[in-house]
């Protein structure tokens, strides 16, 4: 009965209650969306940290961590490998060689780490092969010798990536019905080659009007992008015998992940190709990267097991290898509720105010209820429930709308490419797929009830201070 009265009381002043409900709805939608966005970013960062950059655990020579010298390979590699292989809780693993090298083309140079990989194993542990860009070749699906997959960033540094206007680009612009004056400006650039995206777009867009630049600038820049596949890169590095050596590779693929720093540092070659020049023996590997079957074990448990067996090897989890991603994953759960808490704290002032008005309008009725035998405990309960219903109504609608928005944006993704360079510089994706766990909504319900209870204290105290006889005299 009290529950029913409390619910009906919410709708006494429909206009006022609806204002509060709309405010709570908007606050909840905003909170759910921001939390979903943060979760999307965090999940994508953690996923990239594990499946692109580090794997669950990595076994290395402890000396290699202090000094990335080619000779610091894993000690007793064969035994370590056999042990890892025998662990049923390890899902997949791969061994890699790593060489820090100076890369040079006829137009540029940069330092990268060459990772010698076994293609079949690598695909089981890392998803780097999925990041080959459009028109950026393939992940070693070529038949020329010494193929290499480099990042878009490295391609830019080595000037393998250029921007140029070709006849094909002009044809594309025509088919896309780009205005003739824009096409004729583009035609003036035919035959010229730019090595920087910024220089190309600045030069080209300076000849367009602002609205044309906004509309067609990024489209033309994207179409003008060209990767010179099969370009030759010469790498200079120290081999296993401490001698300077060099080896040339031809670009077969360009990848781009959401982490520019990772991209700038890593290039992938076949282990067999790198072995020839570096002079690796059959058991010379710098790291074993492994994925743990998380349903059966944890990365921490595997780390302990391997460390115990091979004290001369360094075993690190992705949490230790990429601590920023681990920290984000850890604080994110608390962070959502901080966001929601701040939103609901602000809303609570409005809710308290509304409830106080509702109580002031009903003083005579509350006096009557106490006179005919309603205990103060029940009066308190009635007001508290009314406040909870008021808050919960808005937040349930807000959660439904928020979930719908997350469902849609989680499917389409949110493109922050215009400011994406900044995000990617710190390892966050420019295209985010917001998502949230169902448990978060359960948490919101608990939070809403808590806010309802706290917001009802002041109005309920006001009601409980009333003396029935005095309240009944109120007009």
């Amino acid at each position: 009965m009290i529950t029913s009265i409390s619910w009906k009381n919410v709708w006494r002043n429909k206009h006022r209650s609806l204002i509060v409900i709309v405010a709570v709805t908007l606050g909840t939608v905003a909170g759910v969306f921001v939390a979903g966005l943060m979760k999307g970013w965090s999940d994508q960062r953690v996923h990239a940290a594990i499946y692109t950059e580090a794997a669950h655990i990595k076994i290395q020579n402890p000396e290699y961590l202090n000094n990335e010298e080619i000779s610091f390979t894993i000690q007793n590699y064969e035994k370590v490998k056999q042990f890892v292989e025998s662990q049923s809780t390890i899902e997949n693993f791969t061994s890699r060689t790593k060489v820090v090298a100076m890369a040079a083309t006829s137009r540029g140079n940069t330092a990268v780490t060459l990772k010698g990989i076994n293609l079949a194993e690598e695909k089981q542990v890392s998803d780097i092969h999925k990041f080959i860009v459009a028109d950026g070749g393939s992940f070693f699906d070529v038949d020329h010798s010494n193929p290499i997959v480099i990042s878009d960033k490295t391609a830019e540094q080595l000037r393998i990536k250029t921007f140029r206007v070709t006849t094909a680009l002009i044809d594309s612009l025509k088919s896309l019905q780009v205005p003739n004056n824009v096409i004729s400006i583009a035609q003036e650039y035919e035959g010229r080659r730019f090595y920087s995206k910024t220089k190309f777009s600045k030069a080209f867009e300076s000849e367009l009007t602002k609205s044309e630049a906004r509309k067609y600038g990024s489209l033309i820049t994207e179409l003008a992008k060209y990767y010179h596949l099969r370009s030759k890169i010469v790498f200079t590095f120290t081999d296993m015998h401490g001698e300077m050596t060099y080896q040339s590779y031809r670009v077969c693929g360009i990848y781009k992940t959401s982490n520019t720093v990772f991209d700038a540092q890593n290039a992938f070659v076949r282990h067999s190709d790198l072995t020839k020049a570096a002079g690796f023996g059959p058991n010379d590997f710098h790291e074993i990267a492994a994925l743990v079957n998380l349903e059966e074990s944890t990365e921490k448990a595997e780390q302990l097991a391997i460390s115990k067996e091979f004290p001369n090897s360094n075993v690190m989890t992705w949490r230790e290898l990429i601590p920023d991603a681990a920290m984000i994953a850890d604080i994110m759960d608390v962070y959502y509720f901080i966001i929601m808490g701040i939103i609901f704290l602000a809303l609570a002032f409005g809710i308290v105010n509304t409830m106080l008005m509702a109580i002031m309008e009903r003083i005579k009725e509350l006096g009557m209820l106490m006179a005919i035998g309603m205990s103060k405990k029940k009066v308190f309960w009635m007001i508290m429930l009314e406040t909870i219903f008021l808050t919960l109504s808005g937040s349930v609608i807000g959660m439904a709308l928020g979930a719908l928005i997350l469902k849609i944006t989680g499917y389409t993704g949110l493109d922050f490419s215009s400011v994406g360079e900044g995000f990617e510089a710190v390892g966050f994706a420019a295209v985010v797929y917001p998502n949230i766990e169902w448990g978060f909504f359960f948490g919101i319900i608990v939070l809403v009830i808590l806010v309802g209870v706290l917001s009802s204290i002041a109005p309920a105290r006001k009601a409980l201070k009333l003396k029935p006889i005095e309240a009944l005299r109120t007009e």
């Binding site: 009265i5 106490m370 006179a371 035998g373 309603m374 205990s375 405990k377 009944l472």
Partner: protein, 231 residues
């Protein structure tokens, strides 16, 4: 059997250093099944007397005993509980809960008493039929006339099966026809259920119906007339 026993009851208010004796030494009894009216001019102390009988106001001195229980001994939740189970109230301005229907308003006190749904249902229908609102059990106060609302208030007052009903100016806001109907209903319930009714009123029509008329002036009883003879 005496339902209410009042002995030397006083209520004094202090207003700007002047003491006002709203009730000044009232001694009075009400027996089971009485249909009594307390009359007197405005400010004579009849509402204050009714409030003290109902445990809504504390006397300055004196005792009010209801069914042997001294009201002064009850405080807080115990007093609220006592009112719930022993006293029915009818107010001048009906004081129904606007968001509830006639049925819900009537069964409200029974719900507070913790009665079962079937019990509530049965008695509510019975009472609403008795007050002539059997066809309007789902009507909200805003859709009902003043007379109909006051009849729901009477049904609510009787729902908890109280020892007596206190009605403060129950007909003050009603027209003649509604007053007549309401008084007939209360008289019928008084006779059929043997429930004591005590009114405070100015209304001559109520005085005419009452079987006992107590006149109060300046907080003192100046006459106590029983219509079947005797004073």
């Amino acid at each position: 059997m005496k339902v209410i026993q009042i002995k030397d009851l006083h209520k004094t208010y202090s207003e700007s250093e002047v003491e006002v004796h709203a009730v000044n030494g009232v001694t009075l009894d009400f027996a089971e099944g009485e249909f009594a009216a307390i009359v007197g001019p405005s400010g004579s102390g009849k509402t204050t007397l009714l409030n003290m009988i109902g445990g809504l106001d504390d006397p300055t001195s004196g005792d009010v005993k209801v069914g042997g229980t001294n009201m002064s001994d009850l405080k807080g939740e115990a007093l609220t509980d006592f009112r719930l189970n022993n006293i029915g109230f009818v107010f001048q301005s009906y004081n129904l809960i606007p968001v509830l229907t006639a049925k819900e308003n009537t069964e409200f006190v029974m719900r507070l008493q913790g009665k079962t749904t079937q019990e509530c249902e049965r008695r509510t229908i019975e009472l609403l039929q008795a007050v002539g609102l059997g066809e309007r059990i789902n009507a909200r106060p805003s859709k009902s006339s003043g007379g109909q609302q006051q009849r729901v208030a009477v049904a609510r007052a009787l729902a908890s099966k109280p020892k007596f009903v206190l009605a403060d100016e129950p007909t003050a806001n009603l027209d003649s026809k509604s007053t007549e109907t309401l008084l007939d209903i209360m008289e019928k319930l008084n006779k059929e259920e043997n429930i004591t009714f005590v009114f405070s009123t100015h209304d001559a029509r109520v005085v005419k119906k009452a079987r006992r008329v107590i006149t109060i002036e300046d907080g003192k009883i100046i006459s106590d007339v029983r219509k079947n003879g005797g004073e």
